[in-house]
Symmetry: C2
Subunit: 327 residues, 2 copies
Amino acid sequence: MNLSELQTPALVVDATAFEHNLRAMSEALPGARLRPHVKAHKSTALAARQAAAGHRTFCCATVREMEGMAAAGFGDDLLLANETLDARRLGGLDARVTVAVDSEETVRAAVAGGVREVLIDVNVGLPRCGVAPEAAGKLADAARFAGLEVRGVMGYEGHVVGLPDRTLREQLTKECMERLIQAHELVGGDVISAGGTGTYDINTWANEIQAGSYVLMDTAYGHLDLPFRNALTILATVISVSAGHAVADAGLKAMGMDHGNPSIEGAEVWFVADEHTVFAPTEPVKAGDRIRIVPGHVDPTVAYHERMNVVRGDTVEDLWEVDLRGW
Amino acid sequence: MNLSELQTPALVVDATAFEHNLRAMSEALPGARLRPHVKAHKSTALAARQAAAGHRTFCCATVREMEGMAAAGFGDDLLLANETLDARRLGGLDARVTVAVDSEETVRAAVAGGVREVLIDVNVGLPRCGVAPEAAGKLADAARFAGLEVRGVMGYEGHVVGLPDRTLREQLTKECMERLIQAHELVGGDVISAGGTGTYDINTWANEIQAGSYVLMDTAYGHLDLPFRNALTILATVISVSAGHAVADAGLKAMGMDHGNPSIEGAEVWFVADEHTVFAPTEPVKAGDRIRIVPGHVDPTVAYHERMNVVRGDTVEDLWEVDLRGW
């Protein structure tokens, strides 16, 4: 199919940029050194490419993602890198399942759900989930006492991964990871899981990196000094043109807005409405023209779409279902 | 089913508040005086309640919404209150279909798609779609020359509907509607379609009001002096508790963020991540507690969910599929 035949709005993956990103990451972090984060793309079809590039261990943010990955045959080593109080759908999966825990309640939920392996989630500075480093050993003991295998620790420096200044990113990653190593000494186990796209080559303390955005990228990560290329755009049709502005048919239900407005090359984006992006083009456009919109944040953008269209030049060469949406 | 059995995050509709909103609106704008906007809820099950309350004319923002409404038997008078350059899926619907046009290109697309009736979309002040009022007559002539029936005009005062100051809202609505009436004099036809939830009782120039948010509401419209109650919350589970903050399992993929952070009663929301809302509770919470999150903007929130759970007290008495998502 030709790109021009796609109904809009449509999520488009540039095959060349995607392959570049896949290769750049698998050269830097081969095999299990990368634990690709499924939450960024929510697609078993895309995960299959990551697996073919050598990464057979994955992490997920939701139970639905875990279920879908297991059902698609990617169950070698699946980590729910998130807390859950309801693990009942996890214990029976045809997969090696590991779950993050940070409290006695989440330990009990893991046991009740039939989960056998856990990581101790450590607060390394991001005020979100995770136990204090000094409390990690005690929680590991409680987990082992409850019959769980404790594989090690995880801790996400999520407040650091997006900082544009590399020196600052390095310094703060070091501080975060010293907390994680402190916790690991108390917990034991083989796994030290951390990191993201913005610290994939900085975080040398972790023995596996949980990066997801690298493979599609977005404008937020695009501002950093990373070797990954933007592979994700929203194809949209200009539906209205007025003096000074134009309107494309992709809006709030086609892109995540938590990082602010999207970008359009050669145009200034004014605002986004439910099904509209209003922009001031530099060069004249007319109703019916196709444009590309680059979303600010990949994860909540993909979660609005049923599929991604993989495009090389003007040819749509593949369709990847976004099959891991919902919970 | 009891509310406590719902998996989280879950979209919850308070049946009592919903029924109040339905009744309050149908008393103010009975029958075809209201043309409920489907984009706010994307659910034919919810639309069925609006139809039962006397509103059999609907408006939509996408072709998919039009298709779904027609297939569900709500085809008496469906308006695509938006421009499209690809009307091919509209002409064959088992419904009376009217489409907004604001250019020769959209007129041609309507004809090519087999659409027979249109409204002239007029720019009444919101810099989005719509022709200038003084150009509306010429476009109506072109549409009629192309064989289309021109039913009248529409014009959305979208920059006015959310203004908290009622006097200002009244004044600016008047200015906008004077532009629409000027256009209507040039265009003719029976329909003058405009308005939204924030101007439903102010806009007396239009003979039908395109309100959608009123039925579920959100925090943005909640700041106005409207008689509608918030009926929509996200049920979430506390998954992690630290000194000073807690984390619930509903994040960026469970709510639209274009109006900023959501609200939690008795708590300050710090930030929202992919699958997390981080908040500082006033009263202590523990892992496993259920909380309610009120989204800032109803439309892009509903579009993330597969279904709405209709709840009265602690009983889930109905499930409404969000069956009109996508395009």
